[in-house]
Amino acid sequence: MHKLTLAAMQRSLESGEFSSVELCQYLIERTKQHNETLNAFISITEEQALAKAKAADEKRSAGGTLGSLHGLPIAHKDIFCTAGVRTSCGSKMLESFVPPYNATVVEKLDSAGAISLGKTNMDEFAMGSSNENSFFGVVRNPWDTERVPGGSSGGSAAAVGGRLVPACTGTDTGGSIRQPAAFCGITGIKPTYGRVSRYGMIAFASSLDQGGPLAASAEDCAMLLNEMAGFDPRDSTSIDRDSEDYTATLNQPIKGMKIGLPKQYFEAGLDDSIAALLQQAIKELEHLGAEFVDIELRNQHLAVPAYYIVAPAECSSNLARFDGVRYGHRCEDPKDLEDLYKRSRAEGFGREVKRRILVGTYALSAGYYDAFYVKAQKIRSLISQDFSQAFADVDFILGPTTPSPAFKVGEKTSDPVAMYLNDIYTIPANLAGLPGISVPCGDVGGLPVGMQLVGNYFDEARLLNVAHQYQTVTDWHTRIPG
């Protein structure tokens, strides 16, 4: 049952092959069994899930209109606030935080009938590329438990990769959906900035954060995104646009679509075996009628440095609210206000979070603001311009999702810059606010590899269309760890 895609599960529920209760019960048991090794879940909400599954089955047998995800199991990254269910954001700071409200994404998926089985592990406050920064422990890659699942949505990627749940929500600030999707052999899409509401999604870097789905296939991602996307008056950066049916255009032919290959994405730094796999994928897409052209993204090399100013700067401010005053971790017996602040934050935050708060605070300080923050924002505009120039000629941009397959646990923890460079191909889309998808395109020594497609603003439907077409002629996305 766990090997089925979300779409296949839906058909089985409709045909009565199994019930939602049976499906959820089965996956919860499977999750409990594998979570000891993978540590993909921080919370498993068995009781609520089964109650909802029972209600969903009853509603189905009673007839009437059902939501598009009726009775289907999913899980939420523990960054999305869930009313009445602990939302930790992977941090000791929020170890016992139970929000009184739901994130818009949670609300929307709920009302579409999806059933959340729990909350998935993540790098603390979404800061990390390996899921080694979680207060709740390292998450293991289901393909090789010596290796990381990627991050920050590592729990979601490992849960889907290990087929504990068919689909999860995630968030992507610099690659946090696409990179773990690539490492775990699944499909993940980061929508256009503003497409999915950020309300109730605990902020890391507000101008870059974007929620999106991780699932086995592009089709499953489309099903989830259909419900996640949409204007939200509670998020001022959410964009008021008509909603689309991303599943409706999946089967359109892609003949004649023009795909750009940025020279800078295939230069030194990229693993040779990944480059070779990408060449194969390009051939498959050519068979489907896509045309390829070489393009330039001249300021690509500036993306990581610019990102590591903008994101920490925003995070230093966003995380100021975790001060031990109103909620979250508070130190024992503070002797005065300053002691309360200092110790609550020193105890509540992990190393990487502290590093970024410090970097960000420095970058915004008087005398440094222009040299760092303002300059980084200028680079950001240059990178956006590079993309708009490229999209004047091509429909998509293709490249690797990551420079290498999943690395070993502990391999990069002592070298933050090496860790940061893992997001070298994913960060530019966040800086420009563009949608990007990672699709499994092969393996290197049994480890999955992802291909990334970046589209123009609001081109999610066509991105999913290309990814789906590719998945109709390849089977990488159907492979499951042994």
Partner: protein, 478 residues
């Protein structure tokens, strides 16, 4: 040495919106602690601000009222600092691109001199909550009802040269924001707060002296006293050979002094940067024009019109236009009563205001509204009643619902203007007072008042006083 005082003011006007600037919570004053604070106001994880449209409109109205530049592309920025009553660890404010740019405010001083004070800028921001120390032993309470209340911070140029000028400017802004109904102006409740930047320099020197910023001033009287205290303090320092340090000082009304709060060295680095949760605000010309067309006539324009059209004195026109409701009330009374502007003005500023003051009631809540008050003034104007009886009738109107005519009829208070009737009463009084008549005729003019009083008494106050005077003098001479 002769010293010149230099003052600039930062005024925080709380905007009279129903809900907060970035959340739907009520801004009502005086609620139980933390009952008007939702997840956004509490700075819960994941929540986001959404700008209150009305607050933007009010800021634009202020710009229109002061002929100031409108920041058509203005940006909210985060001011980062830690404080328990600042839930997010930053205040959303505006820094380099405020909604209101430079403007000018014309201030009339006590001696009639006209002074132009430059506005540097005005920007929108959210208020913080309140730390409550009194009710807790060994702890501090935090009340976040006020957190997120919209403020317009109005910053002046250092154009004022005395405490009196500063107060005149502050009063002018106070009257203006109430006039255009963007702020209730209640200083006790903190809806209108003034911080003063004060420095001194030798007369003739161009360069500004080192300033101190005085906070915590909650009345115009205290503003004047705080500035005067501060000027004296700075003069003492400089004349004693010392140096003024740049610092923030708190005014202590109980001891009438300012005290150091923090020096420049201790000041926070606020690390301002554009708030990524809010998009830049784009203000379209159509919006500006529609707000302009809905603007009330401004106090200066209205005052000039009252002088030109109604021949009110400068002083009376000033009183009648001090706030918009008074001016509206006055114009209604003038229009409905048919009385002269002078009569309407003196009844409003005299009898109406003294009763409102006595009862501690605002004009909007006056027991006698403009329509009923017009009736009273009309009857005085057409001589149906005398002014003296008018005052008694106003007391009755104040206490009940009757209008003026009903009271006149019920109590038989119609003024007696029939000459023969008054003459008969005069004859009776003269006949009954032969001694006084003789004294009067022998030159004791003062006794006229006695006769007036006697006849008035006989008429039970209803005799037309003008007629009475004229007829009585004729009869006494004869």
């Amino acid at each position: 040495m002769q010293w010149e005082t230099v003052i600039g003011l930062e005024i925080h006007a709380q905007l009279a919106t129903r809900s907060k600037i970035f959340s739907a919570s009520s801004t009502q004053y005086g609620a139980e602690p933390n009952t008007q604070a939702n997840a956004v106001d509490l700075g819960m994880p994941g929540v986001l601000p959404v700008l209150n449209r009305e607050a933007v409109h009010m800021a634009i109205k202020f710009a229109l009222a002061t002929d100031a530049e409108i920041g058509k592309h203005n940006v909210f920025a985060r001011k980062n600092y830690f404080y328990p009553d600042l839930p997010k660890g930053y205040q959303i404010s505006q820094m380099s691109l405020p909604i209101v740019g430079t403007g000018t405010v014309t201030v009339e001083l006590d001696d009639g001199e006209i002074k132009e004070v430059g506005l540097t800028r005005a920007h929108l921001e959210e208020d913080a909550g309140k730390s409550v120390h009194e009710e807790f032993h060994d702890a501090t309470g935090v009340d976040l009802n006020r957190a997120g209340t919209p403020l317009l911070e109005i910053v002046s140029e250092p154009d004022m040269r005395s405490a009196k000028e500063a107060v005149a400017y502050a009063r002018k802004i106070h009257s203006l924001v109430r006039y255009i109904e963007i702020c209730d102006g209640n200083m006790q409740e903190g809806s209108f707060r003034c911080d003063a930047n004060v420095s001194i320099r030798p007369v003739g020197q161009e360069e500004l002296g080192t300033r101190s910023e005085i906070k915590n001033v909650n009345s115009f009287r205290f503003l004047e006293r705080a500035i005067n205290f501060e000027v004296e303090r700075q003069i003492d320092i400089l004349e004693g050979g010392g140096e003024v340090v740049q610092e923030t000082r708190l005014y202590d009304a109980d001891n009438d002094e300012t005290r150091s709060m923090r020096s420049k060295e201790e000041a926070n680095d606020y690390r301002y940067f554009p708030d990524p949760d809010l998009l830049p605000v784009q203000i379209e010309d159509e919006l500006i024009e529609s707000l302009r067309s809905g603007m009330p006539e401004l106090p200066d324009v209205r005052r000039k019109r009252f002088i030109a059209d109604f021949e009110l004195s400068e002083y009376d026109a000033g009183v009648m236009t001090a706030d918009r409701r008074t001016a509206d009330y006055f114009e209604t009374v003038l229009d409905k009563s048919g009385a002269s502007a002078k009569l309407a003005c003196s009844w409003i500023s005299g009898e109406l205001f003294s009763r409102l003051n006595k009862d501690g009631v605002e004009l909007v809540d006056s027991p006698v509204d403009a329509a009923r008050f017009s009736g009273l003034v009309a009857r005085i104007h057409d001589n149906t009643i005398s002014g003296k009886i008018g005052k008694d009738i106003l007391d009755k109107m104040w206490a009940g619902d009757d209008d003026v005519d009903a009271i006149i009829d019920k109590e038989g208070l119609r003024q007696i203007s029939d000459t023969s009737e008054i003459e008969k009463m005069i004859d009776d009084v003269i006949a009954a007072n032969p001694d006084q008549l003789a004294e009067y005729r022998s030159g004791k003019d003062k006794l006229l008042a006695y006769f007036v009083g006697q006849v008035m008494k006989a008429s039970r106050g209803k005799a037309n006083p003008g007629q009475l005077n004229k007829l009585l003098q004729e009869k006494l001479k004869a």
